[in-house]
Subunit: 324 residues, 2 copies
Amino acid sequence: MKKNIITLFLILTCIVSSRISFAQDDPLPSWNDDTLKASIIAFVKSVTMDGTSTFVPVEDRVATFDNDGTLWCEKPLIQGLFAMYRAKQMVEKNPSLKQKQPYKAIASNDMAYIQKMSEQDLIKLVVATHTGLTEDEYEKQVADFFANAKAPNGKSVADLVYKPQVELLQYLRANGFKTYICSGGTVDFMRAISIKYYGIPPEQVIGSTFVYVYKDSAGINDIYRLPKLATFNDKQVKPVSIQYHIGKRPIFACGNEGGAGDVYMLRFSQGGKYPSYQLIVNHDDKEREAYYQEKDNKSLNWAKKYGWHVVSMKGNWKTIFATN
Amino acid sequence: MKKNIITLFLILTCIVSSRISFAQDDPLPSWNDDTLKASIIAFVKSVTMDGTSTFVPVEDRVATFDNDGTLWCEKPLIQGLFAMYRAKQMVEKNPSLKQKQPYKAIASNDMAYIQKMSEQDLIKLVVATHTGLTEDEYEKQVADFFANAKAPNGKSVADLVYKPQVELLQYLRANGFKTYICSGGTVDFMRAISIKYYGIPPEQVIGSTFVYVYKDSAGINDIYRLPKLATFNDKQVKPVSIQYHIGKRPIFACGNEGGAGDVYMLRFSQGGKYPSYQLIVNHDDKEREAYYQEKDNKSLNWAKKYGWHVVSMKGNWKTIFATN
């Protein structure tokens, strides 16, 4: 009897430890076990195996990821939520603003008006709410927002991050990749959460920028944020920003369909001397996230034309969010 | 007798090993053992000692260095040598250029003319010789230049690097600092040698930039370099470029007197929440390097006013170049 118990214990131990070992061996547990996941792992193995023709030296293993719609939701646009949050604060400080749109709509939660705002008007609102203060003041505002903010569905902003992508970033870094964000969001907004949400340090975040001036007078020794965009980091600007910032082509580039903002970054990653991998996230999961497609299907058409891989959020991701 | 030999052997071993240990303990062997060197070491110790009020977390240990006149010579300006090298190539390809200045003077080695060129004309020459081609073509040109170039004194360009500064960069990195170049030189020129000369990877180089456009047509998938400066990374622009690129204030900043180009970078490094260290290299060694001083002494005056440290190349550096 005692012998039997010991045998049973040993068998159980083996089962448990083999399961633990299986979980440890799977670098992408939120991805379904299919050909897409296998192709990512095959690519990473091929560029990290020394002595082969596909090997890429560690210093050239650069990976760039878009942010909105690629690493976290873009419906709602989280930087848009921050703009609303700031606009409300501005109205509190200066109530006469309430006479003017879009502040009037924001102060009264007039969602019908807000949802109909044009892209141009949204950019104007972002500029107005993100500038006219020093960098230190701005960073404090952003930190306060992320500490308290909720999305309209009640989730915390941190819960809008895609879990499979966090695993992918970790997996790439574990294989010597340096991971970067290259997004249309403004750079110092994303930097507030890049290490906490994605494990990406602020200096590896590339984004849109405002015109900055340095001020060293009247007790201020800081960057002052002027109400004017210096760069809008989208489409053909992304490869240019990568060249300014990194000076190397990515060999792994990931974006999303929705506004065709990432196709030139992915093309750029195909023009170097090394093997490379391109990935487009397709928002085709109405149930768990959102369904939206480009009118002209540019991103998915280019994916077919240039041999890029496509993530079906519905088909390829086992889990989308860390919490439901 | 045998015992005496053993004793002698032991004594010799002790002397030799204590010398080795001394050399290993000295992180800055090309710096004279004086109060300046002691102050650098004291600062590094103070920010790396966990549990003290002066401790700085490793992710915030950012060090920025100017390049020309700070890490290598700026008389002659090495990027100026490259401009001459490129101008000669351009004349070879298109002999009609020889009718025009400054190409005529460069082709005929008319040093009197070249030395009298204004700053404006020099910038024009740099723009003309660094642009109008793709990034891949440009990088090949720069690599060829560094492989073959000699300074007017016959030294190779690599021998114009200041040895004490290479030691300082290594010492900072050994203590968890991330070291950056932040220079007026153009970014992709410096990136060609940053890792080889300084141990600084290309993505940690910040410099002046040309206007870039991304081209994906007619067989080209590359950045195209337009003949126009996007930023001239000098004076008040340096803190701004640091904010765009790093998003953190340096806690160690080093520049040189000569054109007062670094004073705002050093001031910026004093405005954060951490202890910080500022260093200005003074070109006061006519014998071993060069002697030149600002007319208004701005850099040295600000050093006094704001408590920065000054390197006398003559007094503080035991060795300046790896080869003489």
